[in-house]
Subunit: 113 residues, 2 copies
């Protein structure tokens, strides 16, 4: 277990997926690869986490799926943000900011109080 992907992903996967679709549709495999590339493999998305998350988000109306062909000529299911998904993305980014600022306050606190 070399890069030890932490449990920190919990609750954050959605916003990462939504963000990966912000500039256009991607297929599932491409979402995972993009996230891994963008974070230099700090974030590794297991397929057993990815696909259930995609279904969940599709049920909630944040993304829409359509079958198509990948860049390499293979059958692939492309996901696109809906209007609701775009608005949800904004909310989740704001929530992440609030949260990470709060954690930073704790980790940088001096122990008084």
């Amino acid at each position: 277990m070399a890069p030890q992907p932490t449990d920190l992903l919990q609750g954050t996967l959605d916003v990462l997926i939504l963000k990966s679709l912000a500039w256009g549709p991607r297929h599932g495999y491409g979402i995972a690869k993009w996230l891994e590339d963008t974070t230099d493999d700090t974030l590794v998305i297991e397929e057993g986490s990815l696909y259930p998350a995609l279904y969940r988000m599709e049920r909630k109306g944040w993304i829409e799926a359509e079958w198509g062909m990948s860049e390499l000529g293979r059958k692939a299911k492309f996901y696109a943000l809906t209007a609701a998904g775009r608005s949800r993305l904004r909310e989740e980014i704001a929530a992440w900011r609030r949260f990470s600022v709060a954690v930073a306050k704790v980790l940088g606190a001096d122990g008084r109080g």
Copy 2:
């Protein structure tokens, strides 16, 4: 549900608790209050999350408990970091840094690649 405490706490509670003990023992109630105060109620620690977390961490040898008296003269169980807990705290802070940097990369990415 006014301030909507997110699910983002997942996987982060341990490091927050460990950090709250970095300058000396606190009792459970005090840990929760300190975290809420320090983050202006952005992070709200439910007691049903807190006490199980404390037991878990005690079992793992990161913290030690001792009964004593609170500042207000009530019976209270004080938790203190062990050497293992201190080292664990350092690791978890480093993991959090890696993780939040990675998320920032994703949320700040320009969509290329």
